[in-house]
Symmetry: C2
Subunit: 215 residues, 2 copies
DNA sequence: TAGATTGTTAATCGATTAACAATC
DNA sequence: TAGATTGTTAATCGATTAACAATC
């Protein structure tokens, strides 16, 4: 499954769960297409590749489909993540309670200024960076969010990879140099570069396409 | 220019400006490739499409290349943007001073709780939502960052589009329904969905590819 | 039945990669 | 000259779209 498809499948999954809570039973390819912002042909193509089959003329059973896609996405126990760098953005993420809906818990923050954050549902400790290794190993943390200042990003990244962490969501504008994790494999790195997004936005505003296919 | 290429060009541009400040004169395709995380062939292909030519065996002149790409990207006067929704994330963005390097100024925030934010270099007012229309029109704002709670996102989006705003960076996890701006055209919308990024990250950690091509 | 939807196959499109001539 | 790099052309690859048979 490639990246684009993964995004689509995740969007289908979210839409299905919303429909499920509403109590609907059946969904058509074009419904999911609308929810994910793609064409119905792509939805069916995706399902075909995943060996998911509906009923001709009858669409797909929402509960069944949601369960199947949940399995494909590996949904089960909530996932745990830590936040490294508790400046304003890091703190904002720790306070945000919406990730629980996505099956994700922020277990702790790490910063040179320790403390405690009271999230909606729980208290999240902010521990000193010196505790990072111990905490990550004891809690089997596999992913970290990097929200340190730009100058510290690369070092923080290196440090994190030594703690058996396999995935990073990087908010710093630094392009992290590829380096293997403790087990010799390459980590998964996703970058959220807000400045870059704004630059792109302004470019597209200045030089509009005839038909604007929203990102 | 498509989206992927725009991202690459913007990355080349950033790398060039860093090299420029260091004082280097020449750059090769593979240098820019490293900086943008792509192959040298793509760099040359991109330049070829943009009618940018270097010197065989001699690479590209950094200052010249930076100027040319700057023109292509429409760089000139700094761009102004507003933040709608001054919760923790909105406030974090307003305090962040790194956007100035990208030629972007946050002129004001809008929230039901007005106030003032002192950024590194300036004071940014937080105005009541009722002042949004007036402010946006007077200051010819063309882009807005939406950082309101999920439930308010769609309404905020509709409201913003009535103020002649042409581009939106949406931090809420809502898929905004497409709707035309005041002048009848479709706005540019970029979405930053942190929950979705985390979900993808965990999927890729759980089901690793043989060769992990970092996002 | 008629109409709507699924699911597959082939066609199209575009982007990346490979190969290589040009040339400094 | 030999080696390195550019820039173009063709080949490859993959994803989306179009077309359509199957069928409820």
């Amino acid at each position: 499954m490639n990246n684009e498809m993964l995004i689509r499948i995740t969007r289908y999954y979210r839409a299905l769960n919303k429909l499920r809570t509403i109590g609907l039973e059946k969904v058509f390819a074009h419904n999911l297409a609308d929810a994910a912002g793609v064409s119905a042909a792509i939805v069916r193509k995706d399902f075909s590749q995943l060996n998911i089959y509906g009923q001709k003329r009858g669409g797909y059973d929402i509960v069944e489909l949601s369960d199947v896609i949940g399995k494909i996405l590996g949904k089960g126990e909530p996932e745990n993540v830590i936040v490294v760098g508790c400046g304003r953005i890091g703190m904002a993420l720790m306070h945000y309670s919406g990730f629980e809906n996505d099956g994700i818990n922020i277990l702790a923050g790490f910063d040179n200024n320790p403390g405690v954050v009271s999230s909606n549902s729980s208290l999240i400790p902010i521990l000193p960076i010196s505790k990072l290794d111990e905490f990550a190993l004891q809690n089997k943390i596999s992913a970290a969010i990097i929200t340190v200042p730009e100058a510290a990003a690369q070092d923080t990244y290196s440090h994190i990879l030594e703690c058996n962490i396999k995935g990073v969501l990087n908010f710093s504008p630094v392009t992290l140099k590829p380096m293997p994790t403790a087990d010799g494999k390459l980590p998964v790195v996703h970058n959220i570069n807000i400045g870059l997004e704004l630059e792109q936005l302004f470019y597209e505003i200045k030089f509009p396409k005839e038909q604007s296919p929203n990102s």
